[in-house]
Amino acid sequence: MLIKEKSTILSSEITDKAIFLNRRKIIKAAAGLSITSLLPNTATAEKAKKYAQVPSGPYSANLQVTSIEDATNYTNYYEFSTNKKDSTILARPLKTSPWTITIEGEAEKTGEFNLEDILKNNPLEERIYRFRCVEAWSMVVPWIGFPLGAMLQQFKPTAKAKFAEFTTLYNPEVMIGQRGKSLDWPYVEALRIDEAMHPLAFIATGMYDEDLPKQNGAPLRLVVPWKYGFKSIKAIVKIRFSETMPATAWNKMAAGEYGFYANVNPHVPHPRWSQSRERILGASIFTPKRKTELFNGYGEQVASLYTGMDLKKHF
């Protein structure tokens, strides 16, 4: 079996990759069902994965990783569907190469950039982060990508750049969910510039040592592990540096329910449900929910960003 040997993670703390790839298959085989062709078999799992040699970055946590099947078939991607499973199939026609990103606003280097060129300047690393959705579930994903701050610095934001705003592709022909009005399209998210520059903020281009699956936000997405998942915008085509706080998708939809900051906080309930606990994806039905941690457990790193702020008011 494949044992990962990356500097800062104890491999014993993490589910062995061959096991998390094959958990369902083992169960299915035991149940006497045919093995699904969607899953790689043990042989391919042991073959070199595309990013198997990518080093582990700082802040990668010792957490039990969610199975790839669960992490890739339970996605909130309203551009395709409000059904978490359907987006897996509906996202398939999306063309993710070539891909360009437009940089706008308060920066010295603006314009259109090819994703390939951005990738050349940003060496890949792996970050194992817990991902907490506002719907009170969480998973642990081994992301492949690079720090957001390092990438943003390459465009030389000016002193006026107080916020970084991100926009998802708008293409209702392929993204059929955009034909309806489940949200005000295109999807927009934003971070305060100090949040964006924080070393935990990450751009993912892959997960589980492979390229990012389309339903998970290919070819590149944001990952902000101390915030609710809706901040971690997918399929980014535009980044704008701005002086004023941008209007963001869910906040526009229901400002009383989805704040701009959206920091994971068990003490601030969503108006319609508690945030004190979370369901761990892939856990058995009898596993109790786990207690949600302030800043999703990343308080040591990020709490100082919010010193003096009333987190109940600025939720």
Partner: protein, 198 residues
């Protein structure tokens, strides 16, 4: 219709088994670990959906009788109502056992914060006396009060829809569909009521 007693028994057993099928499929999926990444949610939502569907079917039988001018739909009213309660009970049990892990602390911490859960609980409480008083013996004993008591089902129908509408994040098309169905079912009664009184 001129059907023998045996025919009715066969029809009733078939409808019973058909109504039980969603439950059997869920048990099968649970045992085979086929409920997806969030199995508790799948169980909870599927059971809730079926509770609402059976509630709609139950409420459709009286208007159907009037529409067809035949009495047979009423033969199934108790069974459908009890299936609505069966799925509602399981929906409730999944929440209490698997979501709250039977913890009173979690209940106090989380339920009062969630208005849609309170409305769901209310719906379940409204349906309980109806299920308990569904036998023919009790029906006879209660006489005309039985009908009055069972008017609670109209409030339960409205609160079930409210529960559903309130929990959805943005795409309300499915709860809207059920709202439309429920409006028709309750609307026909309102129309008949006014026709009678005027």
């Amino acid at each position: 219709m001129h059907l023998s007693r045996t025919h009715w028994v066969v029809i009733k057993i078939s409808i019973f088994l058909l109504s039980l099928t969603p439950f059997l499929l869920l048990v099968n999926d649970t045992l085979r670990d086929q409920l997806g990444a969030n199995p508790v949610e799948t169980l909870h939502f599927t059971l809730g959906d079926w509770a609402l569907r059976f509630l709609c079917i139950t409420l459709a039988l009286t208007p159907l009788r009037k529409l067809l001018q035949q009495s047979w739909p009423i033969r199934f009213r108790r069974m459908m109502g009890l299936f609505a309660y069966f799925y509602a009970s399981l929906h409730f049990l999944v929440y209490i056992l698997l979501d709250l892990s039977l913890s009173w602390t979690h209940f106090i911490d989380e339920v009062p914060q969630s208005p849609y859960i309170l409305v769901g609980l209310l719906t379940f409480l409204l349906l309980t006396p109806l299920a308990l008083s569904s036998s023919k013996t009790i029906q006879k004993r209660l006489g005309k009060h039985w009908l009055q008591l069972h008017k609670l089902v109209y409030i339960a129908g409205i609160s079930a829809i409210t529960h559903y509408l309130w929990l959805v994040k943005s795409d309300i098309s499915e709860p809207l569909f059920y709202s439309a169905v429920m409006s028709i079912l309750l609307g026909t009664r309102l129309i008949l009521y006014f026709k009678k009184t005027t």
